[in-house]
């Protein structure tokens, strides 16, 4: 009997330990962080929601597509990067294409041709972020180069002067954090919201 108890003893301790750990680390901890977040930083904790006319139109951190019902790019909006998830934030996913995957190569070719045609630019001048999908499939940003490349098309589709659109892009261009972390970005949703509020 004594030896059985000796053998079983760590399991009893472990069982009781797991119950306590689940209550403290699995429930109390996230709820405490929830409380702090909701009280002190509610905007961030709830997803950095962007509103248009008081209605939520998305999160400034989650990219969106600006396409018609058939998935065709709408020329009057700045376009996000290509996305393996189709910007469906209920199921984030990446392409996971290896560098030599023939499907990957074909998709780059197709994107090059499509952007060259829609934006009237030399295929060689298209920025790399316009041709590749992001890791999350929800990248909210494009490079300033890709934003600038789209200015003429957007201005033309909206019938407003190029200079006004360019000014807007410049004001939404973010530099690197502290000057050397990450890359310069343009937040596509925020840019497009501002664009929609330009007086025609």
């Amino acid at each position: 009997m004594a030896s059985t108890r000796g053998f079983a003893r760590p399991y009893w301790v472990a069982l009781r330990y797991m119950i306590v750990a689940t209550v403290v680390l699995g429930i109390a901890y996230p709820v405490a962080v929830l409380g702090i977040g909701q009280l002190a930083l509610p905007a961030q904790a709830n997803g950095s929601i962007v509103t248009v006319d008081g209605e939520p139109a998305g999160s400034s951190l989650i990219g969106q597509s600006f396409t018609d019902a058939d998935g065709e790019a709408l020329p009057q909006w700045f376009q996000s990067r290509p996305s393996a998830a189709g910007y469906d934030a209920s199921a984030s996913v990446a392409s996971n294409y290896g560098p030599e995957n023939p499907d990957f190569i074909a998709e780059i070719e197709a994107r090059k041709a499509a952007i060259a045609a829609s934006d009237g630019v030399d295929p060689a001048d298209i920025p790399v972020d316009a041709l590749t999908t992001s890791g999350s499939g929800l990248d909210p940003h494009i490079s300033p180069a890709y934003a600038n490349e789209q200015v003429a098309r957007v201005a033309d589709a909206r019938g407003i002067p190029v200079a006004r659109v360019q000014t807007l892009v410049d004001s939404f261009t973010q530099g690197r954090d502290l000057g050397f972390f990450g890359e310069p970005t343009v937040n596509v949703l925020q840019l497009n919201v501002a664009l929609s509020q330009l007086e025609g």
């Binding site: 472990a14 961030q44 904790a45 969106q64 709408l74 294409y97 030599e100 050397f180």
Partner: protein, 557 residues
């Protein structure tokens, strides 16, 4: 340009770690050596039935580790199987048996390999009450085992190496929990969400609809990084903007991954009474880290390969806000610790860049490695190094005043054989058994050709080394991978732990031999060089052939 950015980011990181490693390392040493229990700890010991003042032999310590881990597997398994009836399940059904086993093994083994896609599989309760709990305690187990080994070196003529329950409790309550709370709040300030909102649908500017996901992400993210776990709240892990919204949160997460592993050598030095010994270990870790980071970054900036060349750079699978330098810094950190989080998709790296992430794991994750596991891993290699140096010059091998006899060398040798065996046998079986091979090739592998082979090699390397990152094109939610990788994770975690604790026991039982003119100094640059050399040679000899079949062949064609 990117090279300059990398240098600036690395310099910042080194500065931050240089500032924190000393107070944190000393705090860790105090945590595991102080005689006093906090009131809340005494309460816990009473509830679970532990006498905190009783010391354990290595066998008793090990039985505690194994019992606790087994119960942990059962808890996580049961929670997943019961998901349908749990609150905040988001309407997701019970997780199937095979997948539940794989995930339970994965989180208990501090691996966080994810055969499942969390976005479409797990509700909030399983994530916080199942997975996040293991994020804490599996990290605590790693830390406890490392400290037990250090005690083996520090103590003399004793049969005991500490008390597992006390070490686990202190690791969790004095170190991980307070750091996690603070880190979670910092992450929220950066934009990481913390709510129970579920999925919210909104109408977009174009009149279409978009979804904003919710979730208690910040609390999960903090401990996922700090405990070198790496399992994402979302499928795309730290590439997801709600897990890692900005370049500065990216650096913050990197610091969290490295804070404890790079502080532990200080703890080690402190506990064995000679901090120079710790700094020698730290130097070896630092050399390997920087060299590997430089190589990966050079390959990604180079952007070799048909696809990257055509697109104008290796940006597939990378986020615009991070670019290349912040992606390679994260990828190196994640794979050279045991974290396995990703902020960019390793499957889409250049062929040789992807190989570097594999190589980092093949190093055994010791530069600096996972929480605790990195320290005990590199101390094992240090034992081997002292032995080899002793053979070369005809000196009796001694390390920190402990004689390294046949028993110690056998244990260390078995340790360095265990994970490579799991990796190579697992990979080989995936292609050697005809029905499995057919399933692997038709169902699991995503990229054709050599890259597909690398996906399988990566999976077993990641599982056996308890990393958890993936060449994520691989569909691993199949009976073969759920079973084989689940076992690889458990064996890859617990076989080394058995050997480490046995070694700790055998070292603690010894006296201390005095330093003589014949003793190899283990705190000088010469030893650091030897140690790095042994690490690289052991890994290269073990894995070169299999790397030549996959990423090397692809990258050099």
């Amino acid at each position: 340009m990117e090279a300059w950015l990398l240098v600036a980011q690395l310099a910042t990181l080194v500065l931050v770690l240089a500032v924190i490693h000393r107070p944190l390392g000393d705090y860790l040493a105090w945590t595991f050596t102080s005689a006093k229990d906090f009131r809340v700890e005494r309460g816990l010991y009473r509830v679970v039935g532990v006498d905190p003042d009783s010391e354990q032999s290595w066998g008793a310590y090990l039985r505690g580790v194994l019992a606790f881990s087994l119960i942990g597997v059962l808890f996580v398994y049961a929670l997943q199987r019961l998901q349908a009836v749990l609150p905040y399940s988001l309407g997701f059904p019970a997780v199937p048996e095979g997948l539940s086993f794989n995930t339970a093994a994965s989180f208990v083994a501090n691996t966080n390999w994810q055969s499942y896609s969390p976005d479409v599989t797990l509700g909030y309760t399983v994530q916080i009450a199942g997975l996040a709990v293991q994020n804490f305690v599996s990290a605590g187990v790693g830390l406890a085992v490392a400290i037990a080994l250090v005690r083996g070196f520090a103590r003399r003529n004793t049969g005991t190496i500490g008390n597992f329950w006390v070490d686990l409790t202190r690791a969790t309550l004095r170190i991980l929990l307070p750091l996690a709370v603070v880190s979670a709040v910092v992450l929220i300030a950066g934009g990481v969400i913390q709510n129970f909102n579920g999925f919210t649908d909104v109408t977009t500017l174009t009149g279409g609809s978009a979804t904003v996901p919710g979730g208690p992400v910040a609390s999960q993210e903090a401990i996922k990084m700090l405990g070198n776990n790496g399992g994402g709240f979302y499928n795309t892990n730290s590439a997801h903007p709600f897990e890692n919204p900005t370049p500065w949160t990216n650096l913050f997460e990197i610091v969290l991954m490295l804070a404890i592993p790079f502080s532990l050598p200080r703890t080690f030095g402190k506990m064995v009474g000679d901090t120079r010994q710790g700094y020698a270990i730290l130097a070896a870790m630092g050399v390997l880290f920087v060299a590997s980071l430089a190589a990966l970054t050079a390959f990604e900036i180079g952007g070799a390969g048909t696809g990257p060349q055509l697109a104008g750079g290796a940006m597939e699978g990378k986020e615009q806000r991070f670019g290349i330098a912040a992606s390679t810094l994260f990828a190196t950190t994640s794979t050279i610790t045991s974290t396995g989080a990703v902020n960019s998709m390793h499957d889409s790296f250049t062929s040789l860049g992807g190989m570097m992430t594999l190589f980092n794991m093949m190093l055994g994750e010791i530069a600096p490695g996972g929480i605790g596991a990195g320290l005990y891993g590199i101390l094992i290699i240090a034992v081997i190094t002292v032995f080899i140096a002793g053979l070369l010059v005809g000196r009796t091998p001694e390390y920190l005043g402990k004689k390294l006899g046949p028993r110690e060398i056998k244990l260390a040798s078995l340790y360095i054989l265990a994970t490579p065996t799991l990796v190579l046998v697992g990979t080989a079986l995936s292609f050697a058994i005809p029905p499995i091979r057919e399933d692997v090739e038709s169902t699991s592998i995503w990229n054709p050709g050599l890259h597909g082979f690398t996906e399988v090699l990566y999976a077993f390397t990641s599982a056996a080394n308890n990393n958890g990152s993936a060449f994520a094109g691989l569909t691993a939610n199949t009976p073969w991978f759920n079973t084989a990788l689940g076992l690889a994770m458990l064996f890859g975690r617990f076989i080394p732990i058995v050997l480490v604790l046995a070694l700790a026991g055998s070292l603690a039982a010894q006296g201390k031999v005095p330093v003589t003119a014949g003793t190899l100094p283990t705190h000088r640059p010469q030893f650091v060089g030897l140690l790095v050399g042994v690490i690289v040679i052991v890994v290269a000899l073990t894995y070169f052939p299999v790397l030549a079949l996959g990423p090397l062949a692809e990258g050099l064609q």
